[in-house]
């Protein structure tokens, strides 16, 4: 398996009034090429911060303390702004949450697409770019005649999101990163976007990295799933293993805590306790205060990854020191 994106021991902090907030606390992750990988976690788990660190879009009070991020063999953290710009959009494209603000409000969609293309390459004429855009818009089930000449505010939220996905594909990137691509969309539109992402993935064999809190969406789309909590990765496995045979207590409890549309309600329970403080994280395993299976070692030492069957789990239930 070829890994297109590899994160190694990334540590990232925010400087806030009360001290240093460690949002990403030693995260290592491998994203396989040609597959859809999902990073799942609740609010405050650090997944958005991890993305910011990978893409180097940190706010002024964010600091990467240590670690490496490899895109193929290039260490993204060591690149200059200029070199980074060559990678952004051409090799790695990003669709951010709430697409509404990603479009320039004073440009027509067509102009925005052309400008974006020309900012990176000048090998195609304007007409050729538009032609390519038309095909992409059709892939996302948008009518090019309607959309190309429109301004962003004339399109609905769902249309903008799809147009943004089309825009992200204009330079044929190798990796598409999506940050909560279906939040703030209604159920039907969400299912349309999911279908469309599946189609794009099949047609272009495009590697996708999806960051979300929405487990049902993960069940629909992902091939591989990484579960994040309190700034650390808890478990990594293929999608069926995660949902049917999760090994980490957090993953198991999380799946049990989702109110289901179908099926039995009676065994659903919320996870007791509260999300951990990232200013003063718990000692040892970050989940131990809420874990019903905790052992004495759990609050003393941070568990490493153990390989158990199809799962990679960071939990002392599955190994010794």
């Amino acid at each position: 398996m070829v890994y297109i994106l590899r994160v190694r021991n990334l540590v990232m902090e925010y400087a806030v009034r009360e001290g240093m907030l460690r949002a990403v606390n030693g995260v290592s992750l491998d994203v396989p090429e040609g597959k859809i990988t999902a990073l799942v976690g609740e609010s405050g788990c650090g997944k958005s911060s991890l993305l910011d660190a990978i893409l180097r879009t940190l706010p002024p009070n964010g600091y990467i303390r240590s670690g490496e991020v490899f895109f193929r063999d290039i260490n993204l953290l060591k690149l200059s702004e200029k070199e980074l710009r060559k990678i952004r959009w051409e090799k790695i494209a990003v669709v951010f949450q709430a697409a509404q603000n990603s479009f320039n409000p004073v440009l027509k969609i067509a102009d925005h697409i052309v400008e974006t293309y020309q900012a990176h390459r000048n090998d195609l004429s304007k007409e050729a770019i538009i032609e390519k855009a038309c095909k992409l818009l059709e892939t996302v089930r948008l009518d090019p005649n309607q959309v190309l000449d429109a301004y962003p505010h004339e399109l609905s939220g769902g249309m903008k999101q799809r147009a943004l996905i089309a825009l992200s594909l204009i330079l044929d990137p190798e990796l598409l990163i999506l940050d909560e691509p279906t939040s703030a969309l209604d159920t039907y539109t969400q299912s349309v976007i999911i279908d469309m992402l599946k189609k794009v993935h099949e047609e272009k064999k495009l590697t996708m990295f999806l960051v979300t809190h929405d487990l049902p969406v993960v069940a629909e789309l992902a091939d591989y799933v990484a579960v994040m909590y309190g700034g650390k990765i808890m478990e990594v496995a293929d999608v069926e293993t995660i949902f049917y045979n999760a090994k980490h207590p957090y993953t198991q409890l999380l799946i049990k805590a989702i109110p289901p549309l179908i099926g039995d309600l009676s065994d659903r329970k919320p996870i007791p306790g509260n999300p951990p403080s990232l200013l003063n994280p718990p000692s040892g395993c970050v989940f131990h205060p809420r874990c019903p299976f905790r052992k004495p070692i759990c609050d003393k030492k941070v568990p490493p990854f153990f390989r158990v069957g199809n799962n990679i789990v960071a939990c002392w239930l599955y190994g010794e020191e």
Binding site: E240, G263, P270
Partner: protein, 339 residues
């Protein structure tokens, strides 16, 4: 008395006027009638923009309808005198969606609850006041109470803040609480605990609920006794006991949503059949007042659907607003696949 009607809406319509020169009417709610009895749980389901929040606020007496009447305990809310309204006001409460905005960031938990406890419980001393406040905190699961008294909202997680908002709404012993998307902004692992709290209020105090959400799955938590009312573009298109409605959805829009909702089970969710709609977009033009609102997107629509607003009719215990209920194919749950 179990059958006493608390709130009744009769043919309520609400539109907002936009524009300065060319005034346009934006219809949020169209011709809605409903009755809420003591201890009922009504779920209002719909996508963003369908009018459920507006309807919830009309029920709570915060928005005056453009047409129709709102009755609280049999009295017309908008014709009452101020004094009378004040008497009924605490009995109908509303919990907001955003637990970050519904609490004053400059007040501690104690400072938020104490004035309300003081007003409604009339404790005889400061010590008794503190005791009552702690009791309230214990009841909603914010224990140990001493830990929380001096905390500010930004010290609490979303789930805790929402419990505090519910605690606040509980103090005046209301008959009805309108909960507007109360769990949408809370982490998935904590949602059930807030839903359980609402159930507790309903079972132990007989408080009726209007639960507004875009997510049917969370509404299912109440399926034992709740009714489901589905809204689309301002109208209620299907209403019925939740279990029945989910087992046998009649309105095409409900069928489309149910088949499109992802479930946290990869084998089922990837193989389920989706009901295809004719158009992916919710129409942005002026709402149709003379035809079925769903007709442009409905895969089954016929000529009559574009000409006449379907009147709500009863079928098998549901009330459905659709011309073609009898003609629709039998509903096979999309999850019935050979796994």
């Amino acid at each position: 008395m179990r059958d006493k009607v608390i709130v009744e809406l009769k043919n309520v319509t609400k539109y907002f006027e936009r524009g300065i020169i060319r005034k346009r009417k934006n219809y949020a709610v169209i011709d809605v009638s409903l009755k809420i009895r003591e201890g009922d749980i009504i779920t209002l389901i719909g996508e963003s923009g369908c009018g459920k929040t507006t309807l919830g606020r009309i029920i709570a007496g915060l928005i005056k309808p453009s047409k129709g009447t709102v009755l609280w305990f049999g009295k017309d809310v908008w014709k009452m005198k101020k004094k009378e309204f004040k008497k009924y006001r605490p009995l109908i409460q509303l919990v907001h969606q955003d637990p970050y905005a519904s609490l004053n960031p400059a007040r501690t938990v104690y400072q938020i609850l104490a004035p309300i406890v003081k007003k409604y419980y009339k404790p005889k001393s400061a010590a008794e006041l503190e005791k009552e406040v702690k009791n309230v905190l214990r009841y909603v699961g914010l224990t140990p109470p001493d830990y929380f008294l001096n905390k500010y909202p930004h010290h609490l997680s979303g789930g805790m803040r929402q419990r505090l908002a519910f605690a606040r709404a509980l103090i005046p012993k209301p008959k009805l609480i309108v909960a507007d998307e109360p769990v949408s902004m809370i982490d998935m692992s904590l949602r059930l605990s807030v839903l359980a709290l609402m159930k507790k209020f309903n079972e132990e105090f007989g408080i009726a609920f209007v639960y507004i959400s875009h997510d049917i799955a969370t509404a299912r938590y109440f399926e034992d006794k709740a009714t489901l009312s589905l809204m689309y573009l301002g109208r209620i298109v299907e209403t019925g006991p939740m279990r029945d409605v989910l087992r046998n959805p009649m309105h095409p829009y409900l069928r489309a949503i149910l088949s499109a909702t992802p479930v946290p089970d990869p084998r089922i969710t990837r193989h389920k059949r989706k009901l295809e709609l004719k158009s992916l977009e919710v129409p942005r033009e002026i709402v149709m007042l003379e035809s079925c609102p769903f007709s442009p997107r409905c895969p089954y629509s016929e000529e009559i659907c574009f000409k006449q607003v379907p009147p709500p009719k009863e079928y098998d215990g549901h009330i459905v607003a659709c011309h073609l209920v009898d003609k629709l194919p039998k509903w096979i749950p999309p999850w019935q696949v050979a796994v």
